[in-house]
Symmetry: C2
């Protein structure tokens, strides 16, 4: 079998060097760049750099929120599983309400998906939070409707729903009107839990730096 790199530090270094060499990173503010590099690292696609929408202070907003111990609200278990716990401040753990016992009943009552209904259970924790959506377009749509209806504002919305029905549309809605929140979103059908987790991990790493 061909030889391959086994040293974790060398793998990381070579990966990030490849991303920096191939991706068009010039348009990103300094604090956004490490986040974009980690997004690309998580999906293997350098060209997503060209499809990212973001507010100018998105990275700073996320870093400040994490430093302040803000909750990290995730739309599915995969996003939470991808977040490196030891990078988060003491006492902060990702919160997923998708499998909360109240969620199916709420979804039925509201006539929507469980993913959308799950965001209703974020309301008490939403003020100043970091929201990481890596799966469900309806979760992002429902959150935006909630913000229109006066829900507390998160500090940052990481918008990475994926797929063929509503993913591109929900992210366009976020980027077109972020309701006073900072945001990062990947335009189009692509997205996913790994990107949402990678964004949180990038912010947590920066938040942990002096």
């Amino acid at each position: 079998m061909r030889p391959y790199e086994k040293d974790p530090a060398a793998i990381y270094a070579e990966s990030f060097a490849t991303v920096r060499r191939e991706a068009r990173l010039g348009r990103f503010p300094p604090a956004m760049e490490p986040l974009v590099v980690r997004l690309i690292h998580a999906c293997g696609m350098v060209e997503i750099a060209d499809r990212l929408a973001f507010s100018p202070a998105a990275a700073e907003a996320g870093i400040a929120a994490l430093r302040a111990g803000a909750p990290v609200l995730c739309d599915c278990e995969m996003v939470a599983a991808g977040i490196t716990r030891r990078l988060l401040p003491e006492g902060v753990a990702p919160l997923v309400t998708l499998n909360h016992p109240d969620t199916p009943g709420l979804a039925a009552r509201l006539g929507t998906t469980r993913s959308a209904a799950a965001t209703e259970l974020w309301r008490d924790r939403l003020e100043g939070a970091v929201v990481a959506i890596g799966n469900a377009p309806t979760a992002l749509f429902h959150l935006l409707e909630g913000l229109d209806a006066g829900w507390p504002r998160p500090a940052l919305i990481l918008g990475f729903p994926v797929g063929f029905v509503g993913a591109a549309e929900s992210k366009a809605e976020l980027a077109g009107n972020p309701r006073g929140c900072d945001f990062v979103a990947l335009r189009g059908r692509r997205g996913g839990s790994a990107m949402a987790s990678a964004a949180v991990n990038a912010l947590a790493l920066m938040a942990g730096e002096p």
Copy 2:
């Protein structure tokens, strides 16, 4: 805000219809097709159909293994988190050894990554298993080295490591010499936990059909 689809059944139906309309599925055997559709559904990219490598009986091998109660061995927690437990047979749960207490010591002793070392702890469960690799190229490389050294053979290897160092190479190694195992792999840098989970879920759905 623009209207959007909120009915889960309609979202699934429209998603799968879009995938079937846009993706080139003609070259796949009947049992592979639903697996490919779910892979595409998980990542939002119809063109990955053109980059999939697979053994002709891969889907049947996975279905038979799951029906027989074979273990599902995952290289990271995100893959396990993406597997829908209720689709798996009674008593089968995804197994992840990455965070096993023995893994860091093994990695140090073997001079490799934790992801690679974690596959050493699969050996007792490997015979006839379904292996789902959605993150680490070194896990796939190490498993293939183990098979060369006489480890028990899994029934099916789902090869979806992602990234810039070793991902394409490890999947090319698997596709070039699957060591007597059935396999599905996405060539190139792309891959990820969501695809690995989606492949397992597709097989579990088919295994649950009469």
